[in-house]
């Protein structure tokens, strides 16, 4: 593909600041450090009211009666709305529309919206919610996903209790080998825990025929589609503007407060803002699926995988969200980044009366990876290999056939990732550090341990992660490039959630167009969809769209320059900040015009949609070219463990990641370090705990995120083998960092425990709790 070649040429010439391959600072960086960047929670409007949501206290109940009268009588309350006030479709959802805007009939999880109010002050809202009377008939909740699988109880939703059942049958189902290892693994429910809580500002059009919603989301157009349907408005009458997004990680892919805010604003013909509290946020967005994964690997005496068998049960919670796609991702990544000729996989995603689950960074692959990497360590032990050797021996390569029958076409530097990780230096400090500071030990300021109590373990994890959307989804992104007077203005609807797409969009424009002055237009629905900021897809997809739009604009520029100077436009190219003639006539002066000069007085305007190659559904045996592309990563974790108390401290994580091409190395490093922190959280502390269908730790006091004292130094190396399928050679880098670091940390803990008694503990569940280690 010429794209990669062209880009290479630019950067090798003279690497201007701010082009692809350099690390310019974020365009929104200064505003963010000064606090002037407007997050969605910072937005207000003249005459704005506050909105708030009344939620179900029961995991499963029938609504007998709602009496909003007492709330209406509170001074300052302007509106109380329920399901009766939804003018359009009563339900929404990303894949199937099974989730009510407001519950009517039944509530199916603790926290399900039942009503909303608008009032003059958050405290008035709180009092109004407390005043609404809802009478429930409490029903017996479905809390065991295996019961949903078994089909032995009545459906808790008209769509049934099974969200998806999919199997994969590949090769010889009877194949076996002399080594067989198996285990059952559990993954707890993780929360995305973005810091910028859900927030929106809805401004109704005069006359009430439409609404403008300022919203922190991952996908403006999908939001608009769902909102408009529920409001009973044409999509053209619903405009979405991206409010500053304080992180996302999958939790903003589904509708939360969007419809409620718009409904209140339209009802009152006044602007309304809603913001969730942290406690409400835990109820108000989907989470990572808790899962149980059984796996059995058959291998030769040499530790070469012959067959994998697996069974997955994903608890999808009360509503479908993206459960079916998450399950697909999990089961199709059963083999991990390893060759596997034969497979029998059975996967279930089911409905329960737990919190709804959907997208979170890693999207199903996290669950599969914890299982297959734990299995690879068992295989290593059974075959007498070390963890590195067993992985190298089975590493998948470009051209191998996956268990879905799909040929792995992506560049697949798995062995290189493993080897380069292994070459990274181990920590040079002994347990407890040279300075013997208590903060270096597990337990930290709690002074629970002395150096002699601690064992140090090393563990490995390697992952494969699909990029972009799968299973035939028409996945595209739109970008517009305007070029005039030496300035490029780039517009897209790509949700900037912190990942830095606004930075690389400008880098792409500078590189392709030879301009230094690049403006990023408002991110809103005044242009076609960019698709979601998820699935590690925006660098590839929206990067591809920006690249294509800039190339289209560049063609127009070349045509203009060609006509002015009487040169065939096909001979023109960008060199640095100039348009040059690549085939100057001998003897004559070579044409070289600065882009700023060449674009003076003209107005080029190009909009392009970029699509990746089509994919297809899996058949009933799980065969099909369902994925677009893959990225790979290796992690090595060093963890100090207090075996008696079960406390741990991660000392270092080393990683080599297949990034294709690092468009902005500093941004890539930021994704790697940030992803590792989230994977560390899942490994040792992060879990939403529900007892009897009720969340017990809906706060940052009890849902623990890694702090600066929990996060170790990261030693990272980027494996750059540009992928010819990627428009810029660059693979998405967002998800891989958080996937295999979790099993690497758990493996390191197992390694440390093995040193105590030669056996250790299986640790088949994440997060690993102190009791799992100590008891």
């Amino acid at each position: 593909m010429s794209t990669v070649e062209t880009v290479e040429t630019r950067v090798e010439g003279r690497a201007r600041d701010g082009v692809i391959g350099t690390s310019p600072v974020r365009p929104d960086g200064i505003a963010k450090v000064q606090g002037s960047f407007a997050f969605s929670s910072d937005l207000s409007a003249e005459g704005c009211l506050w909105g708030a949501t009344l939620r179900s206290p029961h995991p499963y109940a029938r609504i007998v009666r709602i009496d909003a009268g007492p709330a209406w009588r509170i001074s300052g309350v302007e509106a109380v709305i329920t399901a009766d006030d939804v003018p359009g479709r009563l339900t929404y959802g990303l894949i199937s529309q099974d989730q009510p805007v407001f519950a009517s009939g039944h509530v199916r999880y603790v926290g399900e919206p039942v009503a909303a109010v608008a009032a003059d002050h958050p405290e008035t809202c709180r009092r109004a919610l407390a005043a609404i009377v809802v009478e429930y008939e409490v029903l017996d909740p479905l809390l065991d996903p295996e019961v949903a699988v078994a089909g032995t109880r009545d459906p808790i939703h008209p769509d049934g209790n099974v969200l998806r059942h999919q199997r994969i049958i590949c090769g010889d189902v009877d194949a076996t080998g002399p080594i067989v290892v198996e285990g059952t693994y559990e993954i707890g429910m993780q929360d995305q825990a973005f810091l910028g809580l859900e927030a929106a500002l809805a401004i109704p059009d005069p006359g009430g025929g439409g609404v403008e919603l300022h919203i922190a989301t991952q996908w403006l157009h999908e939001d608009r589609k769902q909102i408009a349907a529920c409001l009973g408005l044409p999509e053209t009458h619903v405009r979405l503007v991206l409010g500053g997004v304080g992180g996302a990680f999958g939790a903003r892919e589904d509708i939360s407060l969007q419809v409620h805010t718009c409904l209140l604003a339209l009802r009152l013909s006044r602007p309304v803002r809603m913001q969730y509290s942290r406690a409400e946020s835990f109820l108000g967005h989907v989470h990572r699926h808790p899962a149980t994964v059984w796996m059995r690997h058959h291998a030769t005496d040499d530790g070469v995988i012959v067959k994998v068998e697996a069974r997955y049960v994903f608890d999808g919670g009360a509503y479908a969200s993206t459960s079916s796609a998450v399950l697909l991702n999990a089961i199709t990544h059963t083999q991990g980044p390893y060759r596997c000729p034969n497979a029998v996989v059975d996967g279930w995603a089911v409905r329960t009366n737990h919190l709804p689950c959907g997208a979170m960074r890693g999207f199903g692959v996290v669950q599969a990876c914890f299982a297959h990497e734990s299995q690879l360590d068992r295989l290593a032990e059974a075959s007498g290999l070390d963890p590195v050797e067993v992985r190298l021996r089975n590493a998948i390569h470009t051209g191998d056939v996956l268990i879905t029958g799909q040929v792995l076409e992506s560049v697949a530097p798995v062995a290189r990732c493993i080897r380069e990780t292994a070459e990274l230096p181990l920590p040079d400090e002994p347990i407890g550090g040279h300075d013997r500071d208590v903060m270096r030990l597990p337990g930290g300021a709690g002074r629970t341990a002395d150096t002699g109590h601690i064992r140090r373990g090393i563990g490995w994890g390697v992952a494969m992660k699909n990029l972009m959307y799968s299973e035939g989804f028409d996945d595209y992104s739109t970008a517009r490039c305007r070029l005039a007077d030496g300035r490029a203005t780039i517009k897209f609807a790509t949700a900037e959630v912190g990942q830095g797409f606004v930075t690389i969009a400008a880098q792409i424009a500078r590189t392709i167009l030879g301009v230094d002055d690049v403006a990023i237009d408002v991110i809103d629905t005044a242009i076609g969809s960019a698709g979601s900021t998820s699935a590690s897809r925006q660098t590839w997809m929206s990067g591809g769209a920006v690249d294509a739009a800039c190339r289209a604009a560049r063609e127009r520029l070349f045509e203009h320059v060609g006509s002015v100077h009487g040169v065939d436009p096909l001979r023109l190219a960008i060199d640095g900040i100039d348009v040059v003639d690549t085939f100057p006539e001998s003897g004559g002066p070579a044409l070289r015009v600065p882009v700023a000069e060449a674009s003076a007085g003209i107005d080029i305007d190009e909009t392009v949609e970029y699509r990746h190659r089509p994919t297809e559904d899996l058949d009933e045996n799980g065969q099909g070219n369902c994925h677009v592309a893959f990225a790979f990563v290796a992690h090595r974790a060093v963890v100090d463990v207090d075996p008696d108390l079960g406390l741990i401290k991660v000392i270092q994580v080393a990683t080599a990641q297949d990034v294709g091409r690092a468009l902005n190395p500093l941004s890539v490093l930021g994704q790697i370090e940030g992803g590792i922190a989230q994977g560390l959280g899942l490994a040792v502390m992060e879990e939403i705990i529900q007892i009897d269908g009720r969340i017990r730790n809906a706060s940052f006091t009890d849902y623990l995120l890694p702090t600066m004292l929990d996060m170790p130094p990261v030693v990272a190396t980027l494996v750059e083998e540009p992928d010819p399928q990627a428009p810029l050679g660059a693979k998405g880098v967002g998800e891989p960092p958080c996937i295999s670091v979790t099993p690497a940390i758990v493996a390191a803990i197992r390694d440390a425990l093995r040193q105590v008694d030669g056996v250790g503990k299986p640790l088949t569940r994440v997060p690993v709790r102190p009791a799992d280690i100590a008891l």
């Binding site: 406690a279 903060m439 337990g443 002074r447 629970t448 040792v684 705990i689 600066m708 102190p770 009791a771």
Partner: protein, 291 residues
């Protein structure tokens, strides 16, 4: 003005005498959480004060040593970050260690010793230290001053003997001659609520060991059997204790705990953790005699 900000103890007492139901606000690190979550109703619109903010009362922010009785009296408004720093840290090392485990730097700057007592959470980090040191609490209120042993003050989970309109003014602690330390298990290496905690303090001249346990009962528990055992088991002349006795001490400490299962941990783990921490603490206090 519904928030009264007294600058002297006399003013604070007067404000509370006039409005015994007023909320006393010290560092705010517990009280504001309740207000923010709507758990503590706070009315507005009336003319009388509802909040007495005592964070600027000079008398509450100071501490004094009484050399004669070898005691120190710390104002209820002294903050954790002050307890962590010298000279207080050298005088009361276990209290300094406990303070360093409280919340975050921001919390330690605001949170106070008196606030920890008034909240009386079983997980309050300063409380095992106050318990192990047999602290005496000074209170003042409408019916005058009174003093109370810390164990009489702590009545139950977030329940104290504080009467309406009464204010904690200070805490008196002995300056013991002997090793003392605090230990706390939490799932994170910073900003974490105690899953289980313990404070061990040695009174060497008295040849006694005190051990107080946090987060394993409705209030702080003194492991009296373990204490008696240690008093006998320690070779005081050589600061030595056998490994078997250390282990036994841990077992007795674990047995003294009365933990529950909750979303933070299990009773079994908590009891186990108390045993491990107690054994390690006593070994730090009595380094000799081990293998």
């Amino acid at each position: 003005m519904p928030v009264v900000v007294p600058l002297t103890l006399r003013e604070a007492i007067a404000a509370l005498a006039e409005h015994p139901d007023a909320m006393v606000l010290a560092g705010g690190t517990d009280a504001l959480v309740e207000i923010n979550e709507g758990h503590r109703a706070i009315a507005s619109g009336a003319s009388s004060p509802f909040v007495v903010a005592v964070d600027r009362v000079a008398e509450l922010r100071s501490w004094t040593i009484d050399p004669a009785s070898r005691t120190i009296t710390i104002g209820a408004g002294v903050t954790y970050d002050e307890l962590m720093d010298d000279p207080l840290a050298t005088l009361l090392p276990a209290l300094a260690e406990a303070s360093r485990t409280v919340g975050s730097p921001q919390i330690r700057i605001a949170g106070t010793l008196g606030g920890n007592l008034a909240t009386c959470s079983p997980a309050g980090d300063a409380l095992p230290v106050l318990s192990a040191l047999d602290a005496v609490i000074q209170l003042t209120g409408p019916s005058g001053d009174r003093t109370m042993a810390v164990h009489d003050f702590m009545v139950g989970v977030k329940r104290t003997a504080l009467a309406a309109g009464e204010l904690i003014t200070s805490v008196t602690l002995p300056l013991l001659d002997g090793w003392q330390g605090y230990s706390k298990v939490g799932v994170r290496n910073a900003m974490v609520i105690a899953t289980a905690s313990a404070c061990l303090a040695v009174d060497a001249p008295a040849r006694s060991v005190r051990l107080a346990l946090g987060s394993v009962g409705p209030t702080i528990i003194r492991a009296t059997e373990a204490e008696s055992f240690a008093a006998e088991a320690v070779d005081w002349d050589h600061t030595a204790m056998s490994d078997d006795d250390v282990r036994r001490f841990g077992e007795l400490a674990g047995a003294a705990s009365r933990p529950i299962d909750d979303h933070r941990s299990t009773a079994v783990y908590r009891r186990h953790a108390i045993g491990v921490m107690a054994a390690r603490l006593v070994r730090r206090a009595v380094p000799g005699g081990g293998s």
